[in-house]
């Protein structure tokens, strides 16, 4: 069934179809509509779940951890400072191997206080052990909601999953979304079953301490779990295409990268405008292309290196800055190339911070810049004042 929905609402529809048994949420700013829609679904009986109002984001994720430890499929959502307030629990969820799914509306972090979109909140948590996906549009958001549990709960993975939607530009923007049927969803996603739960018949130690003699083994296994998601994501997308007819492309999505000179690597909802700009430049004889990163964890090292190594130059466009260094996505992309032994000129463009609009002209300028040999870290909208 097709409906005209916002990214938040589309994600809530996907979660309804995924049948979480426990939803915990703190419904105050910077929370978004997704948890309101889910509470309405629980209220009207179209979703059978225990809906728990908690007193903070820290408690929201703690509650989801408890639910998952009882063997339930758990969901929560947050954004911005809310995600940062949960940070302590992110590590508990990942280390405990609880396959919780969380939607994060990517929004700016304080100060100055600002609830507009950028990606500094989730990118600051890359090391927490969660899988991190970034949607481009509302349909992909809904589809990620359905795929997320199948990936997270796979025994080879057993890792929590954070689905990121760009604040406002995706969460609050309405577009046509195809909602699968309940039968389709149920055939794609079986109920959650796990041994990693409290069971009075088979008591086991959970969420325990581990000293220096064994701790590193758990961390090694955690790394293996997130890395295993690479294969499981690909298998899940193949099964998804068979059931729903929509095909996704794994950790990255390439556009016009077969015969290419200049590439913008980016993530989230700005990718569409990058593709349109690449089309325009192709019309002028410039070999422009786009790589959209769909997953930041596990990171697509091979996928990125394979494409970028044949280009003359690349730019990483991201709504993030790691102060004192550069954008974190840029660091990750450079590492992928270095490991592959590829030497290509790259530069970093920081844009869209605090919700600032990124225009088609901004993106065209990036392609022009890298064709002219630009390097280093550039803030879109800052610099060039001397020329005014």
């Amino acid at each position: 069934m097709k409906k005209f929905l916002s990214g938040n609402e589309a994600f809530a529809e996907g979660i309804r179809l995924a049948r979480p048994q426990v939803i915990s949420a703190y419904p105050i700013t910077p929370q978004t509509i997704v948890v309101e829609r889910l509470s309405e679904m629980v209220e009207d009986g179209s979703l059978t779940a225990e809906y728990v109002h908690v007193e903070s984001e820290h408690s929201a994720l703690s509650c989801a951890i408890g639910a998952s430890a009882a063997g339930a499929r758990a969901f929560t959502a947050t954004s911005s400072q809310g995600l940062l307030y949960m940070a302590e629990c992110l590590y508990y969820a990942a280390g405990g191997r609880f396959p919780i799914v969380m939607m994060n509306a990517d929004r700016s972090t304080a100060l100055p206080w600002n609830i507009y979109g950028d990606q500094r909140d989730s990118l600051s948590q890359l090391d927490s052990g969660w899988i991190q996906a970034y949607a481009e549009n509302a349909q992909e958001a809904l589809d990620l909601a359905l795929m997320s549990y199948r990936i997270a709960e796979d025994k080879r993975v057993s890792t929590p999953y954070m689905a990121n939607l760009d604040g406002f530009v995706l969460t609050h923007t309405y577009e046509t979304v195809d909602i699968p049927t309940r039968e389709q969803a149920d055939s794609f996603l079986p109920p959650y079953e796990t041994d990693n739960r409290i069971d009075f018949e088979n008591p086991r130690n959970m969420a325990f301490s581990a000293g220096p003699d064994t701790n590193y083994i758990f961390k090694y296994k955690e790394q293996e779990g997130v890395l295993a998601a690479r294969k499981v994501i690909s298998e899940t997308e193949a099964a998804f295409a068979r059931t729903f007819g929509r095909q996704y492309t794994g950790l990255t999505e390439n556009y016009l990268t077969d015969d290419v000179d200049y590439i913008i690597v980016t993530l989230g909802s700005i990718a569409g405008l990058c593709r349109e700009t690449a089309d325009k430049l192709r019309g002028q004889g410039v070999k422009a292309g786009v790589v959209r990163i769909r997953y930041m964890r596990p990171f697509p090292n091979d996928e990125i290196a394979d494409v970028l190594r044949n280009a003359k130059a690349y730019a990483v466009l991201e709504k993030d800055i790691s102060f004192g260094n550069e954008g974190t996505v840029f660091t990750n992309v450079n590492s992928a190339l270095k490991k592959a032994g590829a030497a290509v000129n790259g530069s970093n463009y920081i844009g869209g911070l605090g919700g600032r609009n990124i225009s088609a002209a901004d993106i065209e300028n990036i392609y022009t810049d890298i064709a002219n040999g630009a390097t280093g870290v550039n803030f879109i909208g800052i610099g060039g004042e001397d020329n005014v």
Partner: protein, 171 residues
């Protein structure tokens, strides 16, 4: 692509109108795509708000704010400014809810039509005017969008007002 910029005040329902237009455009049509979004940020009653609708025959992937609109629809005439013309595409039109004439804009007494239908706000009237003027969607599809996305008890009045407004300008 057809782009519409809506200007109103918080509480007038400018974004609802933007959304209804997008929904109406895509109803029952596979090759029609729309995007609708508000000017982002905290919501305050009475504060100036903008909303955007983009309509196209292929998926709309440009999520940035409209820089050149085909129509600018203004729900409150105190928000009109001659500078808005710089946001218009060539041949574009400005439609204003106003009791007095404005040079360079089409004005309609939308409040009058809203009052006839006992509506506290003019958003669906302005949507009807746009439907009649642009022909971008049919009045029937716009009515279906109201049925799909507005609360049941106010659907009938809004549909009547929309049809009345569409008729007003198509004559």
């Amino acid at each position: 692509m057809i782009e519409i910029l809506w200007l109103g005040r918080g509480g007038q329902g400018a974004f609802t109108a933007a959304k209804l237009l997008g929904a109406a455009y895509t109803i029952g049509a596979d090759e029609k795509y729309a995007l609708a979004f508000p000017s982002f940020g905290p919501e305050r009653r009475g504060a100036p708000v903008r909303a955007f609708t983009k309509l196209d025959s292929k998926p709309v992937v440009d999520r940035s704010q409209t820089e050149k609109a085909d129509y600018i629809v203004i729900l409150d005439d105190t928000l009109y400014s001659p500078n808005l013309r710089s946001l218009l595409r060539e041949g574009g039109r400005i439609v204003v809810n106003s009791k007095s004439a404005i040079d360079g804009a089409l004005t309609f007494n939308a409040e009058g039509i809203a009052a006839e239908h006992k509506l506290p706000t003019v958003n669906t009237v302005m949507l009807g005017l746009l439907v009649g003027l642009s022909g971008a969607v049919s009045a029937d599809n716009a009515a279906d969008a109201i049925k799909g996305y507005m609360p049941t008890k106010i659907q009938e009045r809004n549909i009547a007002a929309l049809r009345r407004a569409a008729q007003e300008v198509s004559e």
